[in-house]
Each structure stands twice: as C-alpha cells, then as structure tokens.
C-alpha cells in the first residue's frame, strides 16, 4: 500500500501532476503534528507566483481548503469572477495571491479523517472541463501518495 510508504516525495508528485494536466498551480495543505497544534497549513506548491499563502494557517470551514477540510467533500469553482462576491474575495487569500480563476480542491483522507487538501487551479476561467476532471479523478483514484482521495475505503 502506498500509504505505508514513508518517504513519499510530495514535491515531485505535484510537479508531475501539474505537468500532466497543465494546471497553473498545484498545492497541498496538510495537518501538522501535535507540536504545531495540529494546524492545517500549505506545505507544498508547484507553479506558485509567491510565498504569501505559505504564511497562512488555514481554519476549518474558512476558505476553499477550510471548507473541504470541514466537509470532506471536494469543492470546485469553475469561474471565480462569476461565482464569488468580489467583496468577499479577501477570505480566499490563495485565490487572490495566486490570481486563480478556476480551482478544484480534493480532501486527502487518512484513517477516516481529512488529513489534508489537494488544490489545483488555473489562472484562466472555465479550464476545468468535464473531460479534464474525469481524467483527473481517475488519476487520483483511489489514493494520492499516502492519502486516500475517497472516504470509507479503509480496512
């Protein structure tokens, strides 16, 4: 099983993920250890414009990653400009900092808990086509590195 693999190279994995689907940005947020109060922070990124969002501590239920973390459901926004209120955009710092126009965030499961979030995005709207999403889902099924991408398939 992949999840027993101790030294999964996340950076290499998201670099190749980005290349394969032509994403502008791929990033992973992971729950930190007890010493870091189990906070959720962005750990790896590929294609990022700056380091701003790495300073951010994510909160359950807030922002894209927070929402996915809380609900355990994937979340997708095809066209940021249409679907999000511009006055509310500051609550989505990664979208602002990375100038994203379309994003898709997937929960990463470990022991029936969401342990992280995988975010992919384009700086152009409507690039998340149905066929691309199909391929992407297939690619992630059933796991990404040590994490499952679906709930309730363990043990």
């Amino acid at each position: 099983m992949m999840r027993d693999e101790p030294n999964f190279d996340f950076q290499q994995a998201i670099d190749s993920l980005r290349e394969r689907f032509d994403f502008d940005l791929v990033s992973i947020a992971l729950v930190q250890s007890a010493a870091d109060q189990f906070v959720l922070t962005w750990q790896y990124a590929s294609g990022n414009l700056n380091e701003r969002y790495k300073r951010i501590v994510l909160h359950s239920g807030k922002g894209i990653a927070g929402m996915v973390f809380k609900t355990g459901k994937p979340m997708m926004i095809q066209n940021i400009a249409d679907e999000l209120d511009p006055n509310d955009l500051f609550n989505y710092p990664i979208i602002v900092a990375e100038q994203l126009q379309a994003v898709c965030a997937t929960p990463l499961w470990k022991e029936s808990r969401v342990a992280g979030v995988l975010l992919v995005g384009f700086r152009e709207a409507n690039r998340l086509t149905a066929s691309l999403l199909d391929d992407f889902r297939q690619y992630l099924d059933p796991s990404f590195g040590p994490y499952f991408t679906k709930e309730l398939i363990e043990e």
Binding site: V31, A34, R52, V57, F90, A97
Partner: protein, 354 residues
C-alpha cells in the same frame, strides 16, 4: 438718561427686530406685522393682506406643541384665554422653507379692543444643535454598548469556555499514559487534534470580538497580536512601528484607535491588492497619532459608487469624532492610501506610563 423718545425706541425695535412680531385681534386676524414677520409668511398671504383682505394668523399656523402632541390645534392659543401662553412652541408654514418651529409668546396688550401681540423667534438653529448633540451622544452610547457586550462575550469565551475545554484536553492527554491499545491511542490523537483546533478557534473568536490584551496591556500589545493574526490568516505582512513606550490612554481612546486601525487595515486587505503595509503609532505635539499606509491600488476619494458598503470610512470618521479626533484620508489611484488619525491628549488623560 439718553433723550430718545420711547415711541422711537419702540418703532425701531419693531422695524429692526429679528423677532417676528404680529398684532392680531381677538379673532386672530392680522392687524399689523413687522418686516421680520413679513419675511416669514408666504408671498400670497402678504399679497392678500396688502389688498386689504383680512387674514387670520391661523392660515399660516400649523399648530403648537402641547403636552399631548408635537403639533396640535386642540385648545388653540388664539381662543384659549385661561391657559398661559407666555412661552410655547409653534409651527408655521414659511416662505420657501416649509414647516419651521418657532419659540412663541402670545399676550393680550389691549383688553378693551382685544388686541394681542404674537412674537416668534426661529428655533431651527437651536434644534439642529440639539439634534447633533443628541446624535453624537447616541452614537457614543451605541458604540459603548457594543464594545461592552463584545468585551463580556469575549471574556466569557476566554475565561470559561476555553478554560473548560483546556482542562478536558489535559484529561484526554492523561489517557495516553494509561495502558490503552494502539487503536484507542490513535483515535485519541485524532480527538486531541480536533479539540486543539476547536480551542484555537474559540480563542480566536474571543480575540476577534475584543482583544483582552487591549484592556490589559494597551494598544501596542493588542496591535502586535492582531497583526500576527492577520499574517496567519491572510498572509498579510504589516510593518508595525510603535513609539509609545507602553503608554496607556483612556479606554475610550484606545478603543477608537484600535477599531479605526483594524478597519483601515481590513480595507487595505480587501481592496488595495497588496500584502504589505505600514502602521505607525506615536505621540507628537500633544496628540496620539496613527498612520496606516499602503502602496496598493488606491481609490478615488469621492467616487459615486465606492467598493464595499462605503460605510467603513464613515464609521471611522464617526469613531474619531467621539474623542475629538481628526481623520485624514489620502488616496491616489495606482499610488496607494494613507490614513492619518490624530487624537488630542489633554494633560489628564494621556501619556500616563504604566
């Protein structure tokens, strides 16, 4: 005594007084009025009078303020001889200014012929002053009530809810050292993780409502933790320069400065398209001063449709006025925005070092 005949004095007073003076008969018909009175009434009323028609003061009067109503015609002062009308408030339909309140007095000056004098003094200005005073006080009360309530809930969250949760967490950690098997321990760690995050959320809520550090340690400490929080939540980098050396001010001033700064920084975060800004807090020329500056996209100060509600800047001004502070907002599109707050410190309320 200076030798000016009484009749001259009276005539001059009548002609030049700011007070409108009407002489009316027992029916309320206008017998004579001074220029100030003519200035009040509608042209067509004056015209009718000049044509020799009898006009009752009633045609311009909308009513007076009685104990029962703001504007009432019950027990009209023209007819009522029993009650005292030496000083009361009356509303008149005036030329070009609509309904205006006047301080009025109504006396009988010639019992035999039934002649009365009706004198009016415009109250609009005094009213406006009163209204402003009332509004300022009201805003003060509302803001104070809001801050007090926030403080109460914040303390409650911090002192009881968060404390209870913390002791549960400690209990939970103790379980680790009691021969539990691996599955239980694993589950335990997950619960510990979510409780730790919950505790953090509650503390954050408490601070967001009103930082305890503002009351306990003053502006500088409160700002430092707020800016750290902004960095963690929005990746915003704030260059904070405080030159107060831990001085404390009245709680009212500290609240105003904190809230205005909070709003200014939040505005920059929302609209300036920048992740860096400068905040400077210092005392100069007997004033406590705050500067919030960014080199972001800026905005047009008098734009017809501001981004957001447009209430933020208004609220900042309102708060500044509560402590006789002055708020200057400079902004230029493409250059950035500077907010400058100055609050005068009287000798007894400022600079006290702790």
């Amino acid at each position: 005594m200076i030798d000016i005949p009484m009749s001259d004095l009276l005539r001059n007073m009548y002609e030049n007084s700011m007070e409108a003076i009407f002489f009316v008969n027992s029916e309320g018909e206008i017998l004579h009025m001074n220029p100030a009175a003519e200035n009040i009434l509608d042209y067509d009323v004056i015209e009718q009078l000049h044509k020799g028609e009898t006009i009752s003061i009633c045609s311009s009067c909308a009513g007076y303020t009685s104990e029962e109503a703001m504007i009432s015609c019950v027990n009209c002062f023209l007819k009522n001889t029993k009650e005292d009308f030496s000083s009361f408030q009356v509303y008149l339909n005036t030329r070009g200014r609509g309904l205006v309140p006047y301080a009025a007095s109504f006396h009988v000056i010639d019992e035999a012929r039934g002649i009365r004098v009706f004198m009016l003094l415009n109250l609009t200005k005094q009213y406006r002053t009163q209204e402003m005073l009332y509004q300022t006080n009201m805003t003060k009360y509302v803001i104070k009530a809001q801050e007090d309530e926030r403080k109460r809930i914040s303390r409650e969250l911090h002192d009881s809810v968060a404390q209870e949760l913390l002791s549960s967490l400690v209990d939970l950690r103790v379980l680790k050292y009691m021969n539990a098997d691996e599955v239980v321990l694993n589950k335990l760690q997950q619960t510990e993780a979510s409780l730790t995050r919950l505790l953090d959320d509650i503390r954050r809520l408490a601070v967001e409502l009103r930082p305890a550090s503002l009351d306990d340690f003053g502006l500088e400490a409160a700002f430092r933790s707020h800016f750290k929080w902004l960095e963690k939540n929005y990746g915003l980098l704030i260059d904070f320069k405080a030159e107060l050396s831990a001085a404390r001010y009245s709680s009212e001033i500290e609240t105003v400065v904190y809230r205005i700064c909070q709003e200014a920084v939040l505005n920059a975060l929302k609209y300036a398209n920048t992740d860096e800004m400068l905040v400077r807090l210092f005392e100069e020329e007997g004033e406590l001063q705050l500067i919030v500056q960014d080199e972001g996209s800026g905005f047009q100060l008098n734009a017809k449709d501001p981004r957001g509600t447009g209430l933020g800047l208004f609220g900042m001004r309102e708060r500044a006025e509560l402590v006789q502070g002055q708020l200057t907002i400079l902004s230029e599109v493409g250059v950035g925005t500077t907010i400058h707050l100055r609050i005068p410190l009287s000798s007894n309320q400022g600079g006290g070092k702790q």
